[in-house]
Amino acid sequence: MKSTILKIVVSIIVVSLAAILTYQLRESNLASTDGSVQIIIVDDNGNIVFDQNVIYMKDDNFFDVLNRQFDLTCATSNYGTDDSCTYDFSGFAYQGKVLLGIKGDGFTVQTDWSNSFLKFETYGEDDYHLATQGVSNIEFSNHDKIRISYASVLEGLS
């Protein structure tokens, strides 16, 4: 009996601590000021189809920045295409959109999730590095450089 009570107490403490830590570590990466980021878009042939500074506003996330500048295609809950970008993926550690396509003046980069996807890379330390968050949570600040490229699933990330 004493052992069961101890187990219950310890279990509650462990779950509570984990919940508090998880809540504290969740980040939304919203812009803290107005500014601009350099966005580079690479199509399925490896050509740079867009390379410009794009303005963002305070409290934008990276998806908002793209959405203001381009026509976006997002994923639905079963990874179909959603031109209205209304569906939000959400879980205990993430919340946001999955981006499948970007359309701008004179270019369209479209992926289908099964065979191709959009690869997001941030520039730092003299090289591009794969983003570790989804499009809605990518960290950015003034004058950052972010590259979005078409990537084939079969060819991998390199």
């Binding site: 279990s11 984990a18 998880t22 570590l25 879980g91 550690a93 968050q133 990330l157 390199s158």
Partner: protein
């Protein structure tokens, strides 16, 4: 029981244990890192020994990467997965061989949750070119969930499941079929 029949029984048992591992992991895959895999491998290590558990782990990794509807991990991450799950029987038969209580094993499972996550860092950093600190920070939420899941499942389920498995194991090996000559 002849050696041949013993081998057939062992092979069947390994297949059943691997199936249980595979099915529960798939069934719980909608909850990231919440699973009974650590609990089951700890149990298998304690009840069935190092050799059988090693075979079960290898079968499990193959099954997850070949049959899972969610697809395999990238091929370069497979060694990390094998080493990760094999660490449990290796540790429990070497440095932690005297660790027998549910409390001690639950604490082991808690720390294993973090170690398992860290095993995927080398390939992510050196091959996928993800910055080390960014990866570590992004993964820590998932490590916490796995650590807590391991701790709770082992703390609450290790003793009753061990008792059940021991009884089933005794029955399984006792009712051997002896062919008439």
């Amino acid at each position: 029981m002849s050696q041949k029949h013993q081998a057939i029984k062992d092979a069947s048992l390994i297949a059943i244990l691997a199936s249980i591992l595979f099915v529960q992991q798939l069934a719980l895959s909608f909850l990231p890192n919440v699973q009974f895999t650590t609990l089951l491998i700890v149990l298998y290590s304690r009840v069935f020994g190092f050799k059988k558990t090693t075979f079960v782990v290898i079968l499990h990794v193959l099954a997850i990467n070949i049959l899972s509807p969610f697809g395999p991990v990238i091929p370069m991450q497979v060694p990390a997965m094998v080493i990760g799950w094999l660490l449990i029987p290796i540790c429990l038969h070497t440095v932690f061989k005297n660790m027998k209580t549910a409390w001690a094993l639950a604490i082991f499972g808690f720390f294993f949750g973090f170690v398992y996550g860290w095993l995927y860092i080398p390939v992510s950093v050196w091959v996928l070119d993800v910055p080390f600190l960014t990866y570590l920070y992004a993964d820590i939420l998932f490590e916490i969930v796995m650590a807590v899941s391991n701790f709770l499942t082992i703390l609450w389920l290790y003793d009753p499941l061990k008792k059940l498995l021991m009884e089933q194991k005794d029955r399984y090996y006792m009712t051997a079929y002896e062919p008439r000559i």
